[in-house]
């Protein structure tokens, strides 16, 4: 009579080697709910999220916009976060990043365009437009506000050379781009989506 069951005690500690455990032998229902601890789950999920905002309003163009602060009201970044220097943002690590920017403009009159743009460099020198939008203001009140957004996904293959800036171009120098240090008005979010 052949044996169909080997009691656990009958197995030497070194009897079940890694070579004997193939992918097909471990099914999901064999993994206890608490088996995958946080320590074993590194590398999963979103590793970098950051959020910056224009801390004070300004009028006319800003190419690039330099008056940024990291959101510091009921927000905390995930990961290392971006580095900012006078309007230029650097990434903490290589990867694929989604940048989404929201702009608010206002003007006491008509303004044909307010263009918010994301500029990207791959040589830490020359910037090119990688995302743009255009919103016009048709006056409906003494000061008429408008909002717009733009976004792009950047392949950051090198953190020294790949950086970005955000700029605003307006038709009339009296046009305001609105900022605040307590709420997100003109602001952007950066999310690392995955590896490059």
């Amino acid at each position: 009579m052949s044996k169909t069951t080997i009691p656990t005690a009958g197995l030497a500690d070194a009897a079940v080697t890694t070579a004997k455990i193939t992918d097909a032998n471990i099914t999901t229902d064999k993994i206890a709910d608490d088996a995958v601890t946080a320590a074993k789950a590194t590398g999963l999920g979103i590793s970098e999220v950051d959020n910056w905002r224009l801390s004070s309003s300004f009028t006319s163009d800003a190419t690039p916009i330099t008056g940024w602060e990291r959101n510091d009201t009921q927000f905390d970044k995930i990961g290392t976060g971006l580095t900012h220097s006078s309007g230029t943002f650097s990434f903490p690590s290589t990867g694929i990043y989604l940048i989404t920017v929201i702009f608010k403009n206002s003007f006491n009159g008509d303004s044909r365009y307010c263009e918010g743009e994301i500029m990207v460099t791959s040589d830490n020198s020359s910037y090119s437009v990688r995302a743009t939008n255009s919103q016009n203001i048709k006056q409906t009140d003494s000061t008429t506000p408008v909002s717009s957004s733009t976004s792009c996904i950047i392949d950051v293959t090198n953190t020294t050379n790949v950086k970005f800036q955000i700029r605003m171009l307006v038709e009339d120098n009296g046009t305001t781009t609105s900022g605040s240090s307590t709420a997100n008005i003109t602001h952007f979010t950066s999310i690392r989506l995955g590896d490059t």
Binding site: F58, D61, T66, G67, S86, S180
Partner: protein, 79 residues
């Protein structure tokens, strides 16, 4: 920021009319009073980051500009 009705009510309303671009900031952005006003060291002009060419206006100049804006708003709104 202006009142909800649009009337200028804060020195930031005046500051953005004194010069264009992101020329000023705050030592404490949660307490935007004149004593905490500072120049941003750099501004972006024509896709170049350059030294800020401006100097801090006096508190009197800022307050006078705010009053000018308020008077203009009041005049335009039946004040």
């Amino acid at each position: 920021m202006p009142d909800s009705n649009g009337r200028p009510n804060h020195i930031e309303d005046a500051l953005i009319q004194i010069h264009t671009n992101c020329w000023f900031g705050w030592t404490d952005s949660k307490n935007k009073i004149y004593a905490n006003l500072q120049l941003n060291p750099k501004i972006g002009v024509n896709n170049e980051i350059v030294n800020n060419p401006h100097s801090l206006p006096t508190e009197e100049v800022v307050n006078a500009k705010l009053k000018e804006l308020q008077d203009a708003w009041d005049a335009a709104n039946g004040g």
